[in-house]
């Protein structure tokens, strides 16, 4: 792994904020040492290295790295935040509040912990706004921080639930076979007014494995592009597409017992098929 410029690479234990990242190259080097990196300039490094996956993630990220995409309004807000303007920071973050929450929620799977992680994430973003260099969208950078805050919280407070990072970054082999429901009736968007349907969707989402849930939340709920999703989660574009595919089929299967027109007729969710 090449280093250049003022690169200084050090591995810290989980939770320590890595400072002194003055160049994107430094951050790319860091990725080879650890398997969890937030974004250039703001890095949480886990000493348990998974260099192969980190390198693959970096390569995928490098291929997919978008051109600087901070619009003029955000640039001005960021400039003001760097001068200590908190109001400007509130304005900068407001459009992405839901994205921050749902990103944390996709990791932690409960509202209280997700909210705590979201609050920590915006605090960290404010404290380290100097390190945002505009190589990605501000929203991508912010959501990356939220994802990593959530992962750290999960690791610290719920070790038994924590999915190994190696497992989470490994591509799954084999196909997923969707359940065979020959009779499908479309659920209209209006049916979302039914509390039962929304609860069923939340339950289905919570039932997904974290690696599928995170991709689904970013791509389908927050409408991140594949490239943004890949960059946020440290995955290749191909891994995002594969996990998205599996997540969607699993959601369909988790919801299907309630279909057959039950939602359309306004009745409560009932199992109308024997499975």
């Amino acid at each position: 792994m090449k280093t250049a410029g003022k690169a200084k690479t050090t591995t810290f234990k989980s939770g320590h904020l890595l400072k002194g990242a003055e160049s994107p190259v430094v951050s790319e080097t860091m990725r080879s040492l650890g398997d969890e990196v937030v974004a250039p300039g703001l890095s949480y490094i886990v000493t348990r290295g998974s260099a192969g996956s980190a390198r693959a993630a970096m390569q995928g990220s490098r291929t997919l790295m978008p051109q600087p995409q901070v619009d003029a309004t955000e640039q001005e807000l960021i400039r003001r935040v760097r001068e200590g303007d908190k109001e400007a920071f509130y304005g900068l973050v407001r459009p992405y509040e839901r994205a921050v929450f749902f990103a944390a929620r996709s990791v932690l799977n409960n509202d209280a912990d997700a909210e705590e992680a979201a609050q920590e994430a915006v605090l960290k973003a404010f404290m380290h706004i100097e390190e945002f260099r505009g190589e990605s969208k501000f929203s991508t950078w912010l959501v990356q921080i939220a994802i990593n805050e959530a992962r750290m919280k999960l690791r610290k407070e719920h070790r038994e639930l924590y999915e190994s990072l190696d497992e989470s970054t490994a591509d799954e082999q084999g196909d997923y076979w969707p359940k065979d429901f020959a009779d499908w009736r479309e659920i209209p968007i209006e049916a979302l007014q039914l509390k039962e349907l929304r609860e069923a969707l939340s339950k289905a989402l919570a039932s997904l494995e974290p690696k599928y849930r995170q991709v689904l939340v970013l791509r389908d709920i927050q409408q991140f592009s594949v490239a943004e999703t890949a960059e946020t989660l440290g995955l290749s574009g191909e891994a995002v597409r594969t996990r998205l595919h599996r997540a969607r089929l699993r959601m369909r299967d988790a919801l299907a017992p309630g279909f057959d027109g039950a939602w359309i007729r306004g009745r409560g969710w009932e199992k109308v098929r024997p499975w």
Binding site: K86, V100, F101, D111, V122, L192, L249
Partner: protein, 76 residues
């Protein structure tokens, strides 16, 4: 254009890509021809597309009440 048959397994693998428009024209044609004759795969396609539409809707999932007011509490 002669359309080459495609198996259900191959169709299932590409359902998500098909919904996104990420398949090439030849594969798209093969899958469309398959959906026209295979009700099971059409059901998977329709169901998956329906789910994607539902979860993308802004009213499906919501933040907790008061979340916005509390979000910046650690900065104050």
């Amino acid at each position: 254009m002669r359309v080459i048959e495609i198996s259900c397994v191959e169709v299932w693998r590409e359902i998500s890509n098909f919904l996104e428009g990420w398949v090439d024209p030849e594969l798209r044609a093969r899958m469309e021809a398959h959906f026209a004759v295979c009700s099971n795969c059409k059901a998977v396609l329709d169901g998956t597309g329906n789910v994607v539409k539902l979860i993308a809707d802004g009213q499906t999932f919501d933040v907790p009440a008061g979340f916005s007011e509390r979000l910046f509490s650690k900065l104050r």
